[in-house]
Symmetry: C2
C-alpha cells in the first residue's frame, strides 16, 4: 500500500468527516496517534480506512466507547471476533427493542394521522399502553 502521507484536512475530506472529529477520536483513543512532520499530523490511507470502520460501527449503533474496546483489542493483536461476539450478544436485545419501538411508533404515526381526536389528552392512541 502506498505510503501516501495525508494531512488531517485531506483525511477529513476523504473520510467525509470534520477535522475536529478526527482530533476528537484521536483523544478518545479510537485513532492511533499518527506521525508528525513539523508538528503536523501525517496519515496514511490506513487512517482513512479506519475512519470508515468507525463510521460503519457508529452507524451500526455502537457508542464510541464500544468501538474503542473493539479497536483496542484489534490493536493489541487479539482476535477481533471474540470481542465482537461478546459485544454483539450484548447489543442484540437492545437493537431488537429499538426496532420494536420504532415500528410501534411508525404504526402509531400512521394511525395518528387518521385519528380525529380533539385533544391529545383525550386521544386513545396516547393512552400509556
Amino acid at each position: 500500500m502506498a505510503e501516501a502521507t495525508l494531512s488531517i484536512g485531506e483525511v477529513a475530506d476523504r473520510a467525509g468527516i470534520s477535522v475536529s472529529a478526527i482530533r476528537f477520536y484521536e483523544r478518545r483513543g479510537l485513532l492511533p496517534e499518527p506521525e508528525r512532520a513539523g508538528g503536523q499530523r501525517r496519515y496514511t490511507d490506513a487512517a482513512v480506512q479506519r475512519l470508515g470502520v468507525i463510521g460503519a460501527a457508529k452507524h451500526a449503533g455502537f457508542s464510541l466507547d464500544e468501538i474503542g474496546v473493539l479497536l483496542s483489542s484489534t490493536d493489541a493483536g487479539a482476535p477481533a471476533h471474540e470481542q465482537l461476539r461478546a459485544l454483539a450478544s450484548r447489543k442484540l436485545p437492545e437493537v431488537d427493542a429499538l426496532i420494536e419501538r420504532a415500528q410501534a411508533m411508525r404504526n402509531w404515526l400512521f394511525v395518528a394521522s387518521e385519528c380525529g381526536c380533539e385533544t391529545l389528552d383525550a386521544c386513545a392512541l396516547l393512552r400509556p399502553s
Copy 2:
C-alpha cells in the same frame, strides 16, 4: 372525576417517574403549573394521566420540544389532529430511516458473530458500505 389532590411525590410514584423530572417537565411547559397548597404543588389525576401521555410520546420517539408543541395546541383548544398530522408527516421518514439502519445493524450483528476475522480493520463486514 375525583379531586384527588396528590403531592408531587405521589404523582411521581404513580407515573413511575422521578420528582425532578416532573419539575423539569413543568419548566419545559409540558405540564401545566398546578395549584399550590402552602407552596406545595397539588395535582389531580389528570397530571398522572398527562405524564402517561408524555411517556408514551417520548417512547414513540418524540423529543420533549415536539411533545410540547402537541400539548400546547391541545391546551389552546386547537384540534390536536392537525398538529399531529403535520408532526407525523415530518417524523415518518426519520422513523423509516431509523428502522432501516437498525435492521441493517441487526443483520450485521448476526453475521459479525460468525465472522472469523482476526482484526477489525481487516474485517470485511466493517468496510464502509
